[in-house]
Amino acid sequence: MTHKKNHVVELDDVVVRFAGDSGDGMQLTGSLFSDSVAFAGNDFATFPDYPSEIRAPQGTIAGVSGFQVHFGHNNIHTSGDLADVLVAMNPASLRASLKWAEKDAILIVDSDAFIEKGIIKAGYDTNPLEDNSLVGYNLIKAPISRLTKEAVKDLGIELKTALRCKNMFALGIVLYLFNRKLDSANAFFEEKFKSNPLIVESNKRVLKAGFIFAENVEAINSTFRVQPAKLKKGKYRNITGNRATAWGFLAASERSGRELFLGSYPITPASEILQELTKHKQFSVKAFQAEDEIAGICSSLGASFTGSLAVTSTSGPGLSLKSEAIGLAVMTELPIVIVDVQRGGPSTGMPTKSEQSDLFQALFGRNGECPTIVLAAISSSDCFYSAYEASKLALEHMTPVILLSDGALANGSEVFKIPKVADLPEINPPIVEPNDPDFKPYRRDENKLSRYWAIPGTEGLRHRIGGLEKENITGNVSNDPLNHQLMVKLRDDKVKRVANYIPKQKIIGKNSGELLVVSWGGTYGVMLTAIERMQEEGRDISLAHFKYINPLPKNTKEIFSKFKKIIVCELNNGQFVSYLKMNFPEFKYEQYNKIQGLPFMVSELKEKFSSLLNE
């Protein structure tokens, strides 16, 4: 297709947000757009923002589902603050999403949906397309519903089926706007609807109709181009955090030679980890959908005793249910990875919204002196490496590891440079050889203090473990006071010594100066973007973003000591900062907390840091 509009504007990066009713297929539209962006060689990140109801009442604000794509030719670390292009399929989605758009954004709306009923349902008094309230925006009124029907009218399909394609009309417009081809979307239709050629044809036609509409409509007088990103040589793919997590475990299983066992119970936003792993029986994965979260972790622990790489996946409320069994894992010193994909809490909270709300629960949420390793994945693609590393630490140190992810990482996607499994670090679990005369259930490795793994079926190693306090070395049940103190200290020391096996904390920027920004887990992308921009502006600011939470990297204190001010930023009410105060009370910490179920925005971070620097 040739472009009629010859005015092409070059852009560094763009944010596009698709918004519509839950039933409008906005998640699909967004991911098809990100596929086309990927094929064009841009770097990108995505952020789905959807309600927890499957189909909230049609046309209402509660039912609005959004999908944001940020792409560009520089490194893209976030899904973007405000949209440059907003697609709104009905009045409710316009009303709900306008606050996420730049003041001069391009608004693409389905003008057919702005009828009285829809306008009232959305809570508008007057039609926003006609009351001048959108002055300043570049408004493209597209009769999407009508033109969709027209595009497929001679295919003889039902009206309802036809209208289901209208999201593709919107996609066609956006593809035109960014000088993209229709190929990748068309290929998707052919694959996805293989068995129904009529659906393939109608989607293709509607997509093309949108594209042609954009070409002809006067309101679009120029198009945009974003040059391919300057990524390192290699193979790339798009990946969501949950899929990356599942694949990280698969890689760890292959590399360690331990069969993967996942015991899990579905919960938003963690279910995809279970769903993904049920697909990979070819790698001998045993994915067990248990009757609840307790059975999820307990079955995993049974599998761990039996020699598997054992994993259980959940979200906050499920982690609460697993607490007692994590205690059993600490006591029996068995390897297990517990993934918590955090969401807004407490209780059921905001299931589809992201929050860094379970740090305290991960660190302290158990009875007794009950330390575990805690890691926090820092990006969707890092979920792969974090799951791999969590497995390695659990297996080599014979201890539970809690891996914190979050809803935004889990469902968000970004570019993933495909690694070779053979290039990942080796994993060597301390498995005992048959008939080892020195075997004792609680004898330990001198350096790591991990006990050894004697797997059922192995000759000469029969032994019992369990939740009652064990005598050092022999593993016999013991109520001896001094033995208990010793065992508590040993379990604690074992986790502390992990600090010798993890990397030192890195700093982005200078190693000393005015302001150190501290953050952890899933906020990495937005923190990095804000810091890099301020560094480019010449501000004296550095970033320490933590992935290793317990134990903290050995150089943490030294890093903190080199800055005049420290500010800790997190999407909760201040959990990491409290933990830092507990560990390093000698420093003064400022804090910046957002507890809205939403990610940080680069702009608000910059504003906060600037005011601190100007004080």
Binding site: W247, H280, T306, G457
Partner: protein, 344 residues
């Protein structure tokens, strides 16, 4: 797991001593648990299984201390969760002989959910339920199997709750094997445990166990010398359901209900008496047998139900084999470079 596939060609003769652990047994003198331990020690060596291939898993309770007293691989778990832990062991390595030891509180109260689900899934796990109808370890509160009206530490005026009947629960949960024995009949215990071990699928053996401290003589009507003959029906596959000192009483089906009859009365002969068929897939009679209780009926002992059905782990193993055969993905490298990929 590779470990257990390296089977020694012939399993050496094992004896009771191979399974006796070096730990001091700390149950109260006279507790029914001692007899159960002794029966298990007799059964294990006879099963033709390597001693390294046994795993004994338990929850919490007096009964759940059991794994420490058997020299096998073992896990003493947390309260109520033995079924879930045992499920993980069995799925991870179906070659192992997995035994779950649990109490009426552990299994039917806090662990009720896991229990019905392991039974429903039909994992090949042998569940030995020590039913003393009381919480022993916590010193005498009522349990879900305590008879209605019983006075305990938490029911000083008698309980208001209708108890569970484990057999009914097992059958209701699609169970494939249920048997009941008393701790006072070691021979029957050994025979039934042996059958439970041989059953491919979840087998539940309810042992009516006496707690000398908190529910002493709770099973007395069934187990005492004077009354047991009239109150116990010993089920045998293919044999008529006769009981009583003179074996002159029997169970018949009248309409949709079971009834106790006396041979010779009303022209009843042995031919009228029900023949036990533990292999019948229809759970109707099995359920009625499980429900029988004195004073109206004798209690049914022995194997009530034992039906063949695919196990969870067989289905899981099959689906892995199929996936390995048909999947083009031979390694994780294949997987992560499949689908939409681009190169720079």
């Amino acid at each position: 797991m590779e470990e257990s596939q390296i089977k020694v060609p012939a399993i050496p003769e094992l004896t009771k001593e191979d399974f006796v652990s070096d730990q001091m047994v700390k149950w109260c003198p006279g507790c029914g648990d001692h007899a159960i331990l002794s029966s298990m020690e007799k059964v294990f060596p006879k099963l033709g299984i390597r001693k390294e291939d046994f795993v004994v898993v338990s929850g919490i309770g007096c009964s759940s201390r059991f794994p420490y007293y058997m020299n096998t691989y073992g896990i003493h778990g947390i309260h109520g969760r033995a079924a879930a832990i045992a499920s993980g062991v069995k799925i991870a390595n179906p070659e192992l002989s997995v035994w779950m030891i649990t109490g009426d509180g552990d299994c039917m109260a806090i662990g009720g959910n896991h229990f019905i689900h392991v039974v429903r899934r039909n994992l090949d796990i042998n569940i030995v339920l020590f039913n003393n109808k009381i919480y022993g370890l916590t010193k005498g509160q009522y349990s879900p199997t305590t008879p209605k009206g019983a006075k305990t530490k938490t029911s000083p005026q008698g309980t208001f709750e209708v108890p569970f009947n484990p057999g009914e629960l097992v059958i209701g949960a699609q169970g494939t094997f249920f048997a009941r024995v008393t701790d006072s009949n070691p021979k029957m215990m050994v025979d039934v445990l042996f059958e439970a071990a041989r059953h491919n699928g979840t087998s539940v053996v309810e042992i009516l166990q006496n707690c000398v401290i908190f529910s002493n003589k709770i099973h007395d009507l069934i187990t005492s010398k004077e009354t047991k003959e009239d109150n116990q029906l010993h089920l045998k596959q293919g044999k008529p359901m006769l009981f009583g000192k003179e074996k002159d009483k029997g169970i018949v089906l009248r309409g949709t209900k079971l009834e106790v009859v006396k041979l010779g009365e009303n022209r009843i002969t042995e031919k009228d008496v029900l023949i036990h068929n533990q292999y019948d897939h229809d759970p109707g009679i099995h359920n009625m047998l499980a429900r029988m209780a004195p004073p109206e009926f004798p209690i049914a002992l022995g194997v009530i139900r034992a039906v063949e059905q695919e196990t969870y782990e067989e289905a899981m193993t099959d689906s892995i084999v199929v996936a390995k055969n048909i999947s083009p993905l031979k390694s994780v490298d294949d997987l992560i470079s499949s689908g939409n990929i681009w190169e720079i």
